[in-house]
């Protein structure tokens, strides 16, 4: 298990004749997804557009997205991992017991039909949302679905992609990877990057009270994180850069109002498929950009003596301990 077999959204628009949304509700959460990429677009390979595509929705309840689907599969809550594992077995013609199938809330007929459709597709794409990645099983569910997509390539072209949201979260992930090797959950407390989600993720560091200052850009943890994390943000000097007044800005020691990205500040945003898009602001703002503020803070820090005496650290460790 491991890895990710994916594509950019233009490939889906051009080629995908079989689309699965799993644990997501694009009709309400990514309202342009159907029209721009997955369902309504015509292409030279799919000249009839929607008529040439089959859409399957897998979710625990019948959301608004079910209306757009050809097939809706209502999986029993918490049984996504089991269902994916069963599909991995069925595509390889392995035996699966009736009880295991019944446990997922679906029938053998429905799953056999699904497998047959997956295999006869020319280009299949599975999108998965937080209904899969943030429910019981979490990253194990995502890994299972990504593996199913990888294994489907023994039969036909298949890819999978997370339905990411929250502005430019993909951009932060991409940039952290090239500078540190890791996407998130990184500590620099030994002078070089180390990674351990669950230990160095923001919420864990805050709940343990391990940091003595917080610098927050374009996020509102005060509205989403557990109370012990919020309590710690109140205890320590918290600095917020945000165009708006937020839960976090209200508890912060310092709130610097900045120009909103994409509206009054330029830059780059990375789409969920990691395609970088330039931001061209249509408006001017009286407020400085995030970048300007961070640069100024950085310059001020650079003017101070370095926190460690010169030569007290090696330049490089040949192996980490």
């Amino acid at each position: 298990m491991g890895g990710k077999v994916s594509c950019t959204l233009g490939e889906v628009k051009q080629r995908a004749d079989f689309i699965v949304y799993w644990g997501g509700n694009p009709a309400e959460c990514h309202p342009r997804h159907f029209t721009k990429y997955t369902l309504m677009q015509k292409s030279k390979f799919l000249p009839r557009g929607r008529k040439d595509r089959t859409m399957v929705l897998v979710d625990i309840r019948e959301t608004k997205s079910a209306k757009a689907s050809d097939i809706f599969l209502q999986v029993r809550p918490g049984k996504d991992f089991e269902l994916i594992t069963i599909l991995r077995a069925l595509i390889k013609d392995q035996n699966v017991s009736d009880e295991a199938i019944a446990d997922t809330g679906l029938t053998r007929e429905v799953l056999d039909d699904l497998v047959q459709r997956m295999k006869s597709a020319k280009f299949g794409c599975m999108f998965f949302g937080m209904g899969l990645s943030m429910t019981r099983g979490k990253h194990m569910n995502s890994a299972a679905l990504l593996t199913l997509a990888a294994e489907m390539n023994a039969f036909t072209k298949f890819v999978a992609m997370p339905m990411r949201g929250h502005g430019n979260v993909t951009g932060a992930d991409v940039m952290m990877r090239w500078q540190t090797g890791y996407p998130f959950g990184i500590t620099f407390n030994r002078g070089y990057p180390r990674y351990n989600p669950g230990e160095f993720s923001t919420v864990d560091v805050l709940v343990r009270g391990d940091c003595d200052a917080a610098f927050i850009i374009g996020a509102d943890p005060g509205g989403t994180m557990p109370q012990p994390a919020i309590d710690h943000l109140k205890r320590i000097p918290t600095i917020v850069l945000d165009p708006h007044v937020t839960h976090t800005s209200k508890l912060a020691r310092v709130h610097i109002t900045t120009a909103p990205q994409g509206i009054a500040a330029p830059g780059t945003a990375y789409r969920m498929d990691e395609v970088p898009l330039p931001l061209k602001p249509p408006l001017k703002s009286p407020y400085p950009t995030d970048e300007y503020v961070v640069r100024r803070i950085n310059e001020a820090i650079m003017a101070k003596p370095f926190w460690l005496p010169d030569g007290s650290q090696p330049q490089m460790l040949t192996a980490q301990v």
């Binding site: 298990m1 491991g2 890895g3 990710k4 077999v5 994916s6 594509c7 950019t8 959204l9 233009g10 490939e11 628009k13 051009q14 080629r15 721009k36 990429y37 292409s43 030279k44 020319k122 280009f123 990888a150 390539n153 023994a154 036909t156 072209k157 890819v159 991409v174 940039m175 990877r177 090239w178 500078q179 540190t180 090797g181 890791y182 996407p183 620099f188 030994r190 002078g191 070089y192 990057p193 180390r194 990674y195 780059t268 990375y270 990691e274 395609v275 970088p276 898009l277 330039p278 061209k280 650079m302 370095f306 650290q313 090696p314 330049q315 490089m316 460790l317 040949t318 192996a319 980490q320």
Partner: protein, 546 residues
Amino acid sequence: MIRITGGRVYDPANGINGEVRDLCMDGGSFVESVEGGRTIDATGMIVFPGGVDVHTHVAGGAINFARAMTPEDHRRTQAFIRTKTRRSGLGGMAPTTFATGYLYAGMGWTTVNEAAVPVLSARHTHEELADIPIVDKTTLTLMANNEIMLDQLENGEYERAKQVVAWYIWAAKSYGIKAVNPGGVAAWKWGKDAKQLTSPIEGYSKLTPGTIVTQLAQICEDLGLPHPIHLHCNNLGAPGNISTTIDTLKHLEGRRAHIAHCQYHAYGGDDWDTMCSETAQLADYFNAHPGITTDAGAVLFGDTVTITADGPWQHLLYKLTGRKWGNLDVENETSCGIVPYTYRPSNLVNAVQWASGLELLLLIQDPWQVFLSTDHPNGGCFWRYPEIIKLLMCADFRQECLKQLPDKIKGKIRLAEIDREYTLYEIATSMSAGPARALGMPKKGNLGIGSDADVVIYEEDEDVERMFGHPRYVLKGGEVVIEDGEIRETPEGREFLIKPACDPGIDDFMRPLFEECYTMSFENYPVELERIEHAEFADCLGSTRS
């Protein structure tokens, strides 16, 4: 202003072979003489032009995907610690950007060519390149599976195809053209590959990989690109692929070309059991055709991560190894695949690969034609180049290494029979002057007056690997960046790009085709010139830039 005195200078671009000479530099270039400034006494030391990597993968979506997939390697590899002037980072199989600059400069390489950039994510690649300090950079745009371009070739619209290529080079702000598995990656979009040069590609009625090779090479000639077509042939890694490779070379028919990582394209046999080295055949071809160049794509035993635009090959490698598999198909343009891999001396296929890379470097007689590379990180990481240099310079050491290969290797490789040893002059050619000339960069890999003052100074050492791994000084643009094993300065590198002549009407031609298959707006697609940090224009051949 710096003067280097008393060193034995190896400068193949000017035919200087170990003469004791002084070098003077001012304002980033070599000059006749300087008054004042620092003098570096290099008496008894060896002076080379800074290394030039003709084929590497250090920035962009693919290597960044590889970084995401290998956290277990980051945790055990070397770490750079942050100081007041330097950023932290990690080395290993897929080094982070800052560490990439430190590691390249740390072993005396001062120019690198990022060999595979999709235009759609070129903006990302340039952002990463801006975060690679010290070294100068070029990029190549992936073109041999671009469907808009292929449609022109399918319809016999050569002239239009040429305009499309020129438009893409400028949109990507790149330096040249890379062709990966021509037609095969386009076929991969349907889960297929292209293995025969003369068979039509999946989804096309008459277009063949052979046609793409010939016409794209001609387009690179006609546009006057300083670096010719940079070609990753079809059938990479497959037993018996030598026939495809030779066939591909014949399709080039006297045009200039650079064949990437030729080690992966020089195998005989019918399957994994019978796979053997056919490097002699390939080397003969190169020896008879001085107009084409190649890089070794040598393999070193150990862990690495393979990354390539060759999607179908990576799917095969995933099935062979059962390890992690990353794939990213890029709309209209290309694909990319990532699979971590371990080369083992006990594995017969890996042993053949290890020997083949060295055989090509040794059997191709002219070091101006074959360059040091591992196709980083595919055959091994770039920071292991000193190991290859030792293997090239010490025949005894090679024989020692051959002993760790399985007995069954006999008859499958030629390496044991080769006693050639590279001289320092030949190493300087293969690691610097040769790749610089192939890239069309006259001021690189050259210690002559007016060239860029990129110099590496080694203290002579019987242990060649240690000598090349730990230069005494490295100068980039006339500035001392490495001294006594320490990073002194971390200047930002430049990025070289070209602007090929292009019919102004091509925008109107591209727009409707673009809107059909892409998912971003036409205006947002080309990378803005202001986004390139320290951009420097190179000239196309036979043109004068306005």
